[in-house]
Amino acid sequence: MPAPAARLMPLQPASPGQVLPAPPVVDLWWFDARAEIVRPADAAVLAAGERHRAKTLLSALGRHRFEVAHVMLRRVLAGYLAAAPGELRFGRQRCPRCGRGQGRPVLLPGPRPAPFFSLAHSGDLVLIAVAGRPLGADLEQDPAGCVCPVTEVLHPADAAGLARLAEPDRHRAVIGCWVRAEAVLKCTGEGIGHGLSGLRAGPAGPIRRVRGCSVRSLAAPPGYQAALALAGQGGVTGRPMAARPGPG
């Protein structure tokens, strides 16, 4: 039987004045793109660059998923900042490993301290995690086929553990390990180009401390796996949010 499903957010009105949780709690906002309708007025909050990126997507489904993810990201963050979603501006920090400009996506400075966030989307689902310190969230749909080659880029100890599993159980376990490693990389702000093999994130399960982060697996809806990392050694706890942000 699959793990208990995380609850997807029901339709609720806007929630301005959202308060950032105290560490180690991280707010988790889940969305299902199948349940969302993005009207032109909704998409109007996107910046010109975001709208251009949406237009260049090949499929209508891909464009829809992109717009849901980025419109909801703006709505969620606007709730913490008491700002209009369209006012938010995003940038990227430099990668702490190589100094290139492909590090952590951040809100550009405004009149109020900006929350840290991490956006992950896969298949129909979107996960937005928000906290008062750097964090990383990753989400992947269960694999349709063999993903065993991915073990070649994971930490050797993690790869050895996965190799002991029989297929197809191994495939799901590979993704469980992958999302933890990706969550840590997102938390540290390092690009994946630097590789995952030095990062022992461990198999799906409890909290592990790695690279100055605490990482844990999350209860995701059936067919998906997710993980969450928070800067610091003090653990990490996800708090599914009960309200769904409106257009603001």
């Binding site: 990126r53 949406a54 260049t56 997507l57 090949l58 499929s59 891909g62 992109f66 896969s122 992947e140 349709a144 993903v147 080659p149 991915v150 070649e152 880029v153 993704i175 992958w178 990706e182 994946i192 180009g193 590789g195």
Partner: protein
């Protein structure tokens, strides 16, 4: 595009379509960014792509191109893989 690069690009399109389950990628123009929005490869699929390239073409892109500049577009990747295969003889 030379015949070798063209053939490599066709092979890469097949790999991409198989990995993503998206048949439209069989007609992907060479200049399309792989991690841009049109293809929108995520890091997991990108990793699977590199492992499949190594298996099918014998080229370890990640080991030979540390900045992964070859992954800019379908065309740059095809040229990189075709050049390495030609050099290896």
């Amino acid at each position: 595009m030379t015949a070798a690069v063209d053939a490599t690009a066709r092979g890469l399109r097949e790999i991409l379509a198989t990995l993503t389950g998206r048949g439209e990628l069989l007609a992907l123009p060479a200049g399309t960014p792989l991690f841009g929005e049109a293809v929108a490869l995520d890091s997991l699929t990108g990793t699977l792509l590199l492992r499949e390239i190594q298996r099918r073409f014998g080229v370890d892109v990640a080991a030979e191109d540390l900045n992964l500049d070859a992954l800019a577009t379908l065309g740059t990747l095809a040229e990189f893989v075709a050049a390495r295969r030609a050099r290896a003889g």
